[in-house]
């Protein structure tokens, strides 16, 4: 981006344009604070998932705070089936992907046929059908971002991670995939990394972003 408009990349690749806002203010972190694992008020208990860095594919499901969240989710719908998407989200949050075993467990929990749960799970792109790296990097390459160089951004991520689209880098840090429109069209290129949006990403920003991620504890 260039021209008369002051464009400044504040380091997390957001663009606050004419505003003087911090990252937390734009993302809303300062308002939201830390949302409890148990889901907070029931009305928002189905509004997760986090995509966590630490993936524990064999972790127990629906225990402790997650049991609480599950219970709250179930209160919000007239039947159990309707809780399927939130419950799969919850399971993926804990395990990092939705394995056949996870589907089976969810099916049993919600009293749904196993094949049905598989059918639903595979319909939605956000459920990872196989394990992904610590950071799932989804680069929007659809038209608005594409016009502003999304293919180059995708390329830059792949190069940095030294991997192929859909694959995970050797050390298990990054899985890079092409994504459809993330509804961040005014902030091209829009990239979703785990649960977070990175906006106005340009190829030059990529190493910085990745290094920052890699260095982070969580």
């Amino acid at each position: 981006m260039s021209g008369s408009v002051p464009y400044r990349n504040p380091g997390w690749a957001g663009n606050t344009g004419e505003f003087q806002l911090s990252e937390a203010q734009v993302r809303g972190d300062d308002f939201v604070g830390t949302r409890p694992l148990a889901g907070g008020h029931a009305s928002g208990s189905a509004s997760y998932p986090y995509m966590l860095e630490e993936k524990r594919p064999d972790a127990p499901l629906f225990e402790g705070p997650y049991q609480d969240r599950l219970d709250k989710i179930l209160t919000r719908y007239p039947d159990k089936r309707a809780a399927l998407l939130p419950v799969l989200n919850l399971a993926q949050e804990v395990r990092g992907h939705v394995s056949p075993e996870t589907m089976d467990r969810v099916a049993e929990l919600l009293e749904l046929p196993r094949a049905y749960v598989r059918g639903v799970t595979t319909f939605y792109t956000m459920y990872n059908k196989r394990p992904v790296g610590r950071f799932l990097i989804q680069v929007c390459t659809n038209i608005s971002c594409n016009l502003c160089g999304a293919d180059d951004v995708m390329e830059a991520f792949l190069r940095y991670a030294n991997t192929e689209p859909g694959e995970t880098s050797a050390e298990g840090d990054f899985t890079v995939v092409e994504a459809e429109c993330l509804a961040g069209c005014g902030f091209p290129t829009c990239v979703q990394i785990n649960s977070r949006y990175y906006e106005n990403v340009q190829p030059l920003d990529v190493p910085k972003i990745c290094e920052r991620l890699r260095a982070r504890g969580r």
Binding site: M1, S2, G3, S4, V5, N15, T16, G17, E18, F19, L21, Q25, G28, D30, F31, V32, R35, G40, H41, A42, S43, G44, A46, S47, Y48, P49, R76, P78, D79, K80, R81, A82, L84, L85, L88, N89, L110, L112, V120, F123, Y124, T125, M126, Y127, N142, I143, S144, N146, L147, E180, C181, A183, G184, C185, G186, F187, Q192, S195, R196, Y197
Partner: protein, 430 residues
């Protein structure tokens, strides 16, 4: 203020507090006038609320432009069965990024709107179906809902009115088709997000088999303002058939992309040249998609004379859709961008209807072949015929959405297709 850039040409009704973090908090929202419209609505009868919205001429902002008051009036006028409101926050149409801004900057505006609409259609439960990818936005919204519950705004006794309305933030899991209203309902029920055949219409048998109204975030957000200030107030902007203000999501090759709230009927060229600070790098305008990826592409001439309301855009051979203005300059490779949109539809087709399931991917493959220099002139006819065969033959209109970009690009930018084809032929001959 529109975020991240502002323009004094805007009329900020629903976008007033974009970029204002304080508006997110309940206190901040109340200080900014939120929940006044709801308070007024609760003092009226539900049917009177519907009448006001009807009189305002508000039209659906999710793409189809259906009159909102009329849609609400289809709901049964009793409490015999549970009614549901579904707020469609699955925003996924390429080029569209307004609902996310509405939710992340001004969540209480949406909550107020959901309560008001629920009251009007006699729903006791509103589901806000958010895109799963909007994690940060959803957390803002969920937090705001939580605040509103704590304050007694939502719940068993909405603002002390004695009416019970619940609001639940529900998130999807990655499927554009769940933005289609019946796909949304299936998804909300925990099914594959496959659109349903109509009839039955949602107002008769919608989510969980009950009368349901589905409205876009932006549509709903306008309602409290209309109720608070009256239908005539809203009609001061726009035209008879397209009254009010609308968020225009401008993306692509402009200097200041972003959401701008404008009176309907605003000239497209002024949006680009003035509001958005002109074309990037001073390049020449080549094409504009005025309403998201499912509408016909306009060339520069059409764009220059286009007024941005439902009728004005239609007069230029396209559709306003959800007012997602994608601006392309002279450097744009049209064939590539059309292929990219077709690939999107192939990826997002739910797969029920054969013309859509097979057609979207077939069209994408042909476009890809042309792009790689292996196309023929005949392919262009095939593309037009195939996309025509995809119109009107399917359950929902995703299938129909492929035709406008493909056909309009072939008719308006045929040279670009031919150049790729000729280049391929030369390479092949050599």
């Amino acid at each position: 203020m529109a975020y991240p850039y502002a323009s004094d040409r805007e009329v900020r009704v629903i976008s007033e507090y974009f970029g204002d973090p304080e508006a997110r908090t309940l206190d901040g929202a109340k200080r900014r006038g939120r929940y006044k419209g709801l308070e007024k609505a609760l003092s009226m009868s539900p049917d009177d609320v519907v009448e006001v919205v009807k009189a305002s001429g508000l039209r659906g902002r999710g793409g189809a432009g259906f009159p909102t008051g009329l849609k609400w009036s289809f709901m049964p006028k009793n409490y015999d069965r549970p009614h549901y409101l579904c707020c469609n926050a699955d925003e996924s149409e390429p080029g569209t990024f307004k609902d996310r801004e509405l939710m992340r900057w001004d969540p209480h505006q949406l909550i107020e709107a959901c309560l008001l609409a629920s009251y009007a259609i006699r729903a006791r439960h509103a589901y806000i179906y958010c895109r799963g990818e909007f994690f940060e936005t959803n957390q803002v919204l969920a937090k705001a809902v939580e605040e509103a519950y704590a304050d007694g705004i939502i719940g068993a006794d909405v603002m002390g009115s004695g009416h019970e309305i619940d609001v639940t933030v529900h998130v999807g899991a990655g499927a554009y088709i769940c933005g289609e209203e019946t796909g949304l309902m299936n998804s909300l029920e925990g099914r594959r997000g496959e659109p349903r055949t109509k009839p039955p219409f949602p107002a008769a048998a919608g989510v969980f088999g009950m009368p349901t109204t589905v409205n876009n975030v932006e549509t709903l957000c306008a309602a409290p303002h209309i109720v608070a200030h009256g239908a005539e107030w809203y009609r001061q902007w726009g035209s008879e058939k397209s009254p009010g203000t609308k968020l225009f999501c401008v993306s692509g090759h402009v200097n200041k992309p972003g959401n701008y709230e404008l009176a309907l009927g605003f000239p497209l060229i002024e949006l680009i040249e003035d509001v958005c600070g002109g074309m990037r790098d001073g390049n020449a305008l080549k094409a504009v998609i005025p309403g998201g990826s499912s509408v016909a592409i306009m060339d520069a001439d059409e764009a220059r004379r286009c007024a941005l309301d439902y009728e004005g855009v239609a007069a230029c051979g396209s559709m306003l859709g959800c007012a997602s203005v994608i601006v392309m300059d002279e450097t744009t490779d049209i064939v590539k961008q059309v292929r990219r949109m077709a690939a999107f539809y192939a990826h997002e087709s739910c797969g029920q209807c054969t013309p859509c399931r097979e057609g979207t991917s077939w069209v994408t493959k042909i476009l890809r072949r042309i792009e790689e220099g292996r196309g023929t002139e005949e392919d262009l006819d095939t593309l037009i015929e195939l996309t025509t065969q995809m119109v009107g033959t399917t359950i929902c209109v995703l299938s129909d959405s492929v035709a406008p970009p493909v056909q309009s690009s072939i008719s308006k930018f045929r040279d670009e297709y031919l150049a790729l084809i000729r280049r391929g032929e030369r390479v092949g001959a050599a």
